[in-house]
């Protein structure tokens, strides 16, 4: 149980870091933000991720798999056309890169 707690807070910490770096990147130079803001945003993202995670798990199970694949993710994002397209594109790139890598090997 303690292990899980530690893990969770570690994850949150990592999430915070990324959220904050994205905020930093996206904000104008002279706009400031408070830690409270980052915290709430992190929480929001965390909750969203948890939900997505649960969904993905359910999808995979429904498909009779025990491993979540990129298809599950595409299914999850079916309502968000733009995001789905983006992910598809990304996936293609990754596949290409992998093939390249594999061919190098």
């Amino acid at each position: 149980m303690d292990e899980e707690k530690r893990l969770k807070s570690q994850l949150r910490g990592k999430l915070w870091f990324y959220v904050e770096s994205i905020i930093k990147r996206e904000l104008l130079d002279d706009v400031k933000y408070t830690p409270k803001y980052v915290n709430t945003l992190t929480e929001l993202v965390y909750q969203q991720i948890c939900e997505v995670g649960g969904d993905l798990e359910a999808f995979a199970q429904h498909a009779g798999r025990s491993v979540i694949t990129s298809e599950d993710m595409l299914l999850r994002t079916r309502k968000n056309k733009d995001l789905q397209d983006f992910l598809k594109l990304r996936l293609m790139e990754l596949r290409d890169a992998k093939e390249g890598r594999q061919s190098k090997r």
Partner: protein, 1016 residues
């Protein structure tokens, strides 16, 4: 007399209001408006929940003044002078309403005042008429006009200017028409010598001063407490500089109408003398341009620094403005977030800039000489302090010790040593103008030159004197304040030198001081002698030491006689002085105040045509035009009804509408005598004598027994002005206690019915009684309490009781009861008050309407069984009826009127209610059934709930959450730190436990992608 010391001023005032003939009925209607709520259906704070309309209805009862009925059917309009239409119109208004009469200077304000005074004199039998003006000459003017035009007999008039307090007392009693200053009236009112109820007409001259706490304001406030049935006539040439100012005057004086005429108004322009106004723009002489430039170079680094520090707006050095710099420095001083060191550094920079701004202003407007004096003064002050190490202001040192400045000043000095050199082109122009004017002018012509600086005034006098033209005889005319002490280097050095500690040292110091003092005296004496030898000596003398009233008077009389024919004035000459007729006005500088400008120009063109010359340089023309434009706009606004007025008493009974009767008034010899006098002092002297019956022509009717009366007055007691039917004398404490007995219904009944509550509002003390309450409170069952609380307790349980207790303290409720039992309608009062609260309660405890009805029936039977008497029964019945109305959702919440409540509640109670219950008259036009709203009932999804909770925690600063937040933050930091140092991300990542039976390829693929995705 009841002890009123524990009442606030407002209470006192409300008590007094009861016996003036004005009745103010204020009706407040409130309507609820939709409010913004958050997701939990809580009303967001800081918003108005109701919309309020206040309707004030002012009524006047019949006046208390004794009216002279046979004169009421007509009013007299003197036709001794030409009848002017606007005067005629204004007089007609001013007789029946409180009028603020703003007409240009020299258009006969005094005539209007005189006519109104005459008519009130005729209409009333004993009431007093008071004319007030802020200065002696103005009073004299009015006396002259009033006696010369209207022929009010001397025996009824009095001038209260040079009278001692003792004498005044008798005069107030004997006479009816008074000419005086507002301060005298104010003092005598407060002393109790003049009864405010006697005043029927108050004329206020120069009414634009009725702002802040000037005597005019205090005066009207005081009279208003006792007497609302008096006419007020306010006269001025310039109401105020802005609309707010006018509104303030209108409020203070209870004006109900403004009569405004400008010089361009059609009905006025016809009678105006021709005023030839010339505006001359003067170029700066090259010497000044040069100095401006050089100073600009010297100050540039300081200005740059200021701009960089962000404390001064970017501008060219020659645009530095003293006023802006001053404002900025004020702002910096008041800014608490600045560290001290920086604050003072900035302050000194701005101070220097402001000094430079002043230098520029003087250079541009007044010329080199004024600049040089100012500079020299500042320069010696600074250098002395600096060399003595009292000041370590590096920025200022750089400026003042700058070599550029030194050469400029030296050059300046050289130029100024030549007495024929004019420090500004304006001076040259002014001299030419004066010379040309007096060549053509009549021998009795006079000229006034206005300037704001004393130094500049003296410079003008000197420059005129140098021309040595016998036709020009100038003198300075300034206020009595002493000239500002120049910075004295020697004294400063001596004062701040390191002092010896020993006795010998001290003695030596005292000796030295004495010596220096004597030397100075000698020097001054010598300078004085020197000055008297010169022709402009007296002007110079005056510039240094100021002119006291006596000196001012002699100068004015000399000016009138023609010994001097050019007067150089500072702002003192602008208003209120009886300078007489002037043909030429020269404004050496201009002010941004339209009032000042108009008053200046109003000095001429009174009886014959005049000429005004305005000299502008720099941005003065712009400033002047803007000021005059603003003033024009203001006048427009006033004529277009942008003001709020107060309704005033008509005084005359409504069945009289006096007709105008134009009449040539034959003036008695004595009165006519006044018309021939010119000097204000003579007028006052003559009139005073005439009023005392001391004129030779008049029989000595009443030989004044002066000595005896003085003795008698000593004994006269101080009069207090109390409300009409107030109890005086002593009352024993025991008689002030309320004596209660408990009747068979458990109600308190007053033993002494004469002390009924509603009758004696004047003495709130009487029914406010702690002793009895304590006695009853100690008894377990307080009969008084139970009456109010029982129903509510039964109704909403403890919650409501608490609520109610919070609002009505036990004292309050119990105190309330005796009056309630006498007056059944009072019972409804707390009910009305409770309704909104009940509504609110409903929100939290949704209840069926049916429940309510059930309950009503229940409580009805309850009360019936409890109290079989008929009287209380009725009250209950009534309340239940009201309750039903309410339950139907269309309850008729009564409009709460102040007049209403004053009958039902005592003052204190009323105040308490009004303070505590803001929504006491909220009308729920459509009662929103908010408790049925569904959203608040359905719980959120866990995710939304968590997020909402996070928001709430962040908002409420929940401790654990903040700690958690900081921990996460720290984790993130350490991660970021490690990363930036260059450690592998995976090293410190938590080891993520991956289920074993997976396709590693798939995982790898995604994970790679993820980290790539995130790291860019």
């Amino acid at each position: 007399m009841a002890d009123l010391s524990d009442l606030s001023d407002e209470d006192l005032e409300s008590l007094l209001e009861n016996n003036v003939n004005r009745s103010v009925n204020e009706t407040v209607t409130r309507r609820s408006i939709p409010v913004q709520r958050d997701l939990f259906m809580n009303v967001l704070p800081n918003q108005r929940t109701f919309y309020e309309e206040t309707h004030v209805d002012v009524k006047y009862g019949p006046t208390h003044h004794q009216l002279n009925e046979e004169n009421l059917h007509e009013y007299i309009y003197p036709t001794n002078y030409e009848v002017r239409q606007y005067q005629y119109d204004i007089v007609r208004c001013a007789l029946f309403e409180n009028v603020l009469c703003a007409i240009p200077t020299g258009t006969g304000k005094t005539f209007i005042a005189s006519t109104v005074m005459l008519n009130y004199y005729r209409w009333t039998k004993t009431s007093k008429i008071i004319f007030t003006a802020p200065t002696r000459p103005l009073v004299a003017q009015q006396i002259k006009a009033c006696l010369g035009i209207t022929g009010i007999p001397y025996s009824d008039t009095a001038i209260l200017l040079d009278k001692s307090r003792k004498n005044r007392e008798e005069i107030w009693q004997q006479k009816r028409v008074f000419f005086t200053t507002p301060q005298v009236v104010e003092n005598d009112l407060k002393r109790g010598v003049l009864n405010p109820k006697d005043v029927v007409l108050l004329v206020i001259d120069e009414a634009h001063r009725a702002r802040g706490n000037y005597a005019y304001v205090e005066l009207t406030k005081f009279i208003d407490r006792f007497n609302t049935s008096y006419r007020l006539l306010a006269l001025t040439a310039t109401p105020a500089a802005d609309l707010q100012g006018v509104q303030e005057v209108v409020n203070n004086l209870h004006i109900s109408k403004v009569e405004l005429r400008t010089e361009d108004s059609l009905d006025v322009a016809r009678y105006m003398m021709n005023r030839d106004r010339e505006m001359v723009e003067i170029e700066l002489i090259p010497e000044i341009e040069e100095v401006i430039e050089q100073i600009g170079i010297a100050i540039a680094p300081v200005l740059q620094e200021a701009i960089q520090l962000g404390i001064y707006d970017n501008c060219e050095p020659h645009q530095i403005n003293a006023f802006v710099a001053m404002q900025q420095s004020q702002k910096i001083i008041l800014n608490p977030s600045l560290p001290e060191g920086l604050k003072w550094k900035n302050f000194f920079i701005l101070q220097l800039l402001s000094q430079v701004g002043h230098m520029y202003r003087r250079l541009r407007i007044y010329g080199l000489r004024a600049f040089y004096n100012y500079f020299q003064n500042k320069y010696t002050e600074f250098t002395t302090k600096y060399t003595m190490k009292k000041s370590t202001n590096k920025t200022a040192a750089n400026f003042y010790y700058s070599p550029i400045l030194k050469t400029v000043i030296d050059k300046c000095k050289q130029q100024l040593e030549d007495p024929d050199f004019h420090g500004h082109e304006k001076l040259t122009y002014l001299n030419n103008e004066l010379r040309d004017f007096f060549v053509l002018a009549r021998p009795d012509s006079r000229a006034i030159i206005f300037t704001e600086l004393r130094e500049s005034a003296l410079e003008i006098v000197k420059s005129i004197d140098i021309i040595n033209d016998s036709a020009l005889r100038p003198h300075i005319f300034i206020g009595q304040a002493k000239g500002k002490e120049q910075f004295d280097e020697e004294t400063y050095v001596r004062k701040n030198k390191p002092k010896g500690r020993s006795k010998a040292d001290r003695l030596r110091r005292i000796e030295e001081e004495k010596r220096v003092e004597e030397e100075k005296k000698k020097q001054k004496e010598q300078a004085k002698l020197d000055r008297t030898a010169r022709r402009t000596g007296s002007s110079e003398e005056a510039q240094l030491s100021g002119m006291n009233q006596k000196q001012q008077k002699t100068v004015i009389s000399d000016f009138k006689k023609g010994i001097y024919n050019v007067l150089v004035c500072t702002s003192i000459g602008e208003e209120g002085l009886d300078i007489g007729e002037v043909d030429l006005i020269i404004c050496f500088d201009s002010t941004s105040s339209p009032i000042k400008n108009i008053q200046r120009m109003g000095r001429t063109g009174r009886k014959r045509d005049g000429r005004i010359v305005l000299l502008f340089s720099g941005n003065e023309k712009f400033k002047f035009e803007q000021a005059m434009n603003d003033y024009g706009n203001l006048q427009n606004a006033i004529t277009h009804d942008a003001l709020e007025y107060t309704k005033s008493d008509r005084i005359l009974p409504a069945n009289y509408t006096p007709q105008c009767k134009e009449k040539f008034i034959i003036i008695s010899n004595e009165n006519d005598e006044v018309n021939r006098l010119e000097d204000s002092d003579e007028v006052i002297k003559y009139a005073t004598q005439a009023m005392l019956g001391k004129l030779k022509t008049k029989n000595k009717k009443e030989p004044k027994p002066k000595k005896t009366s003085a003795k008698a007055k000593k004994a006269s007691e101080k009069t207090f002005f109390m409300p009409d039917n107030v109890n005086e004398g002593f009352t024993s404490a025991s008689s002030m206690l309320n004596k209660y007995t408990i009747n068979e219904f458990g109600e308190k009944v007053n033993v002494d019915p004469s002390v009924s509550v509603s009758e004696k509002i004047i003495k709130p003390k009487k029914e406010w009684n702690m002793l009895d309450e304590i006695e009853y409170d100690s008894v377990e069952i307080s009969p008084a309490k139970s009456q109010v609380e029982e129903p509510s307790q039964a109704k909403k349980g403890d919650a409501l009781q608490q609520l109610q207790q919070g609002i009505l303290t036990p004292d309050e409720t119990t105190n309330h009861i005796p009056s309630a039992s006498q007056n059944s309608s009072v019972q409804t009062e707390p009910r009305t008050v409770l309704e909104p609260i009940l509504k609110k309660l409903k929100l939290s405890h949704p209840e069926n309407d049916a429940d309510n009805h059930d309950y009503t029936a229940l409580s009805k039977s309850d009360s019936a069984s409890l109290e079989p008497s008929t009287e209380p029964q009725k009250i209950r019945q009534k309340r239940h009826e009201r309750e039903k109305e309410f339950d139907n959702g269309f309850e008729l919440a009564p409009v709460f009127t102040a007049a209403d409540s004053s009958q039902l509640l005592t003052n204190q109670e009323q105040k308490y209610f009004l303070k505590k219950y803001v929504p006491d008259t909220v009308q729920w036009s459509i009662a929103p059934d908010l408790f049925r709203a569904k959203t608040s009932k359905i719980p959120h999804v866990v995710k939304i709930d968590t997020i909402l909770k996070t928001f709430q925690d962040m908002h409420a600063n929940t401790r654990e959450k903040i700690i958690e937040m900081n921990r996460t933050n720290a984790l993130a930091r350490s991660m970021g730190y490690n990363r930036s140092v260059g450690m592998e991300l995976e090293v410190m990542l938590p080891s993520i436990i991956v289920p074993t039976s997976t396709n590693p390829a798939d995982l790898l693929e995604d994970e790679d992608g993820l980290s790539d995705f995130l790291s860019d």
